[in-house]
Amino acid sequence: MAVRPATEKRTRASAPTSGTKKPGKTSNPTVNYQVAEFDKDDEFKAYHDMLLIRRFEEKAGQLYGMGLIGGFCHLYIGQEAVVVGIQKALREGEDQVTTSYRDHGHMLACGMDPKGVMAELTGRQGGYSRGKGGSMHMFSREKQFFGGHGIVGAQVPIGAGLAFANKYRGNDNVSVVYFGDGAANQGQVYETFNMAQLWKLPVIFVIENNRYAMGTSVSRSSAQTDFAKRGESFNIPGEQVDGMDVRAVNAAADRAVEWARTGNGPYILEMQTYRYRGHSMSDPAKYRSKDEVQKMRDERDPIEQVRKRLVEKGWASEEDLKEIDKKVRAVVTEAADFASADAEPDPSELWTDILR
């Protein structure tokens, strides 16, 4: 993937291009706005993949309201560019992905079947965990997606453990582990950073900084709010990235993946992003203003950015875009129908899968 400075005004940071052995800057607090060059196909695919996540999440929100989804349900709306931009830099089914409970988007980006994901949300037998895991706990060995973790921060050492296995086996797969700004304060994260660098594990730590951990803003929870610096004392390179621009995400991911895949050890990417919805379905989100959310939606929306470029470059007509939207909606509706009509797991499932 070639990297070039964006034509837009935001071209502040200077990270080396992929292929070099130098990581991006760690000490410079400026956000890395350098973007990957997307051709027409790249833009179309990014648009489609992000839209799929958005529509899927909107539908999940609806099904929750209808009582078809229970418990906690954490929507990814607003953050779509992060998983889509990073996934583009990965080898699907070989590189591992691990994340928190806010996981639906990650699974779709990994190529998991929307029907299976939605049916897990409704707790049906056709769900990825046969209804036994729920929204926060889904896995796919085929797609090398290792969950779906409900305990804040717990996925971080697990992601490094997957990287350990890669190194142990001598393959060149990398492991990507996503976690939030809130999770970034957990102790086990720093234990993991130390070992990952000590043992040069091929792991990419993606900190999805969506500015809030439930109701706590980053500045109220964190003494160091520049998350790219969180690996500094371990000499882990880090970058702050515009997580609302899928091209910037992808460029940074290319650098990080190259770094890890070629044996240089871990890499930290702080993705500056935003969640539009509450923390979970039961969060009234009174800790931020409606204006703040609206401004993000209006000015930085990751999908809208791609849509605009597609139209401006003359690569897509409004008709083409409507067509994509229609296709995506059909996929999501099919998933929702399946997830509502599918049977609950057989009662005998209560006692299976405890040991093998």
């Binding site: 418990g71 897990e120 707790g123 209804g131 804040v152 102790g187 951990a213 706590t216």
Partner: protein, 461 residues
């Protein structure tokens, strides 16, 4: 006076070793710190240093000797001219050479523990009498808990609350609503998501004499902090010989909520109930929640206070008293009866109570005991009831193996075996991680029907 040099124990498991080499010979001057000899254990070769000064008077174990027992006399050091006896001096206690050896007698360790003194019996006080004419008001468990904290914070400046989202967000489950407004950010403290860290900070503050209330957003997340709770909070009083109390309350919702899956649905009553040095409280009603939380905050010990998200919104009658404090460690007879004893606590009480209602319709008069405190456990109340009924069913949401019910069954057979007319029955959560699917979750939890079935089985009806 000559001093015996003994074969030292150089590891916790060493019983004997080989004396490989003497580095001093008889007649040599010995200064403290001089290496006298080398010995070989099963793990390593070590040097024996002299602690005492004088002349090496005699060597009693030749180099190359194998199987030299720990504490055997291997040499003697003393003033010139002192007699070499070839035997340890009568009446002198053995002193390992490698340790600074006071001349006085020391107590051989194994003897002190040859008989174990009986554990002291704990007897809880009865609930305070509620004065005649006291008004009652309907309150939720949530309100009761909030009032308990507010009253204790007004009463004692050393009490403070910390945890995730307790202040500005007004509590993830709104237990701490309004407390920030009343007590300010010094005493109502939002923490980052760092359970192990802030639990430990709470313990340190408690060592210093403050009285922290540490809220876990749910007890599932206290597993991140369990080392500080058990190794630091629970054990330090003992390890410090009584110097370092830890007056802290760890509280938050425990057990299953609804459809939140395996990592968020777990009952820790039995886990914490096992730990000496903790008190463990698990109330069901709002009145008990209030009276026991106030007691927990005043208690000079670490108290685990297990709440339940489902119960937070339930209403109960709470006495209108200025200072309603209940004794920790006292069970409450929720309903008297003569045919069977049902023992439960926390959320389990809701199954027990409904079952007792339905059983009444079947002509079975159940006595329902709310344990309220898991540790110290009020076995006396349970046992007295079983003496009357001859039958017992325990109800809890936790897993069966090592459950609270298992302990109750043990205590009953140990104390009132002769009174039993049937084996004790135990209703628990199923022995599986909590499934998410609605139908499976229902099956995994205990239910009223299971309690009724168990009662019918033990009453043969």
């Amino acid at each position: 006076m000559a001093i015996d040099i003994l074969m030292p124990a150089l590891s916790p498991t060493m019983e004997e070793g080989k004396l490989t080499k003497w580095l001093k010979k008889v007649g040599d001057d010995v200064k403290s710190g001089d290496v006298l000899a080398e010995i070989e254990t099963d793990k390593a070769t070590m040097e024996i240093e002299a602690v005492d000064e004088g002349k090496l008077l005699e060597i009693l174990v030749a180099e190359g000797t194998e199987g030299v027992k720990v504490n055997a006399v291997i040499a003697r050091v003393g003033e010139e001219g002192e007699a070499a006896t070839g035997k340890p001096e009568a009446g002198e206690a053995p002193q390992p050479a490698a340790e600074a050896a006071p001349a006085e007698k020391t107590q051989p360790m194994a003897q002190a523990s040859s008989t174990v003194p009986a554990a002291p019996a704990v007897k809880a006080e009865a609930d305070p009498d509620i004065p005649a004419g006291t008004e009652f008001e309907s309150k939720t468990v949530r309100e009761a808990l909030r009032e308990a904290m507010a009253e204790e914070m007004r009463r004692d400046e050393d009490v403070f609350l910390m945890g995730e989202e307790v202040a500005e967000y007004q509590g993830a489950y709104k237990i701490s609503q309004g407390l920030l407004d009343e007590f300010g950010a010094r005493r109502v403290i939002d923490t980052p998501i760092t359970e192990h860290g802030f639990a430990g900070i709470g313990v340190g503050a408690a060592f210093a004499g403050l009285k922290p209330i540490v809220e876990f957003m749910t007890f599932n997340f206290a597993m991140q902090a369990i080392d500080q709770i058990i190794n630091s909070a629970a054990k330090t009083l003992y390890m410090s010989g009584g110097q370092m109390g830890c007056p802290i309350v760890f509280r938050g919702p425990n057990g299953a909520a609804a459809r939140v899956g395996a990592q968020h649905s777990q009952d820790y009553a039995a886990w914490y109930g096992m730990i000496p040095g903790l008190k463990v409280v698990m109330p069901y009603s709002a009145a008990d929640a209030k009276g026991l939380l106030k007691a927990a905050i005043r208690d000079p010990n670490p108290v685990i206070f297990l709440e339940n998200e489902v119960l937070y919104g339930h209403h109960f009658e709470v006495p209108k008293l200025d200072d309603y404090v209940l004794p920790i460690g006292k069970a409450r007879i929720h309903k008297a009866g003569k045919d069977v004893t049902i023992v439960s606590f926390g959320m389990g009480m809701s199954y027990a109570i409904k079952a007792a209602d339905e059983l009444a319709g079947l002509g079975i008069d159940a006595e329902v005991i709310d344990l309220r405190t898991i540790r110290p456990m009020d076995i006396e109340t349970v046992v007295n009831s079983v003496k009357k009924t001859g039958r017992c069913v325990t109800v809890e949401e936790g897993w069966p193996q090592g459950s609270v019910g298992s302990e109750i069954a043990y205590q009953i057979q140990a104390n009132v075996f002769d009174y039993l007319d049937a084996p004790v029955a135990r209703i628990t959560g199923k022995d599986v991680p909590m499934p998410y699917a609605a139908n499976l979750e229902k099956l995994a939890l205990p239910n009223v029907g299971e309690v009724i079935e168990a009662v019918r089985a033990v009453t043969y009806r």
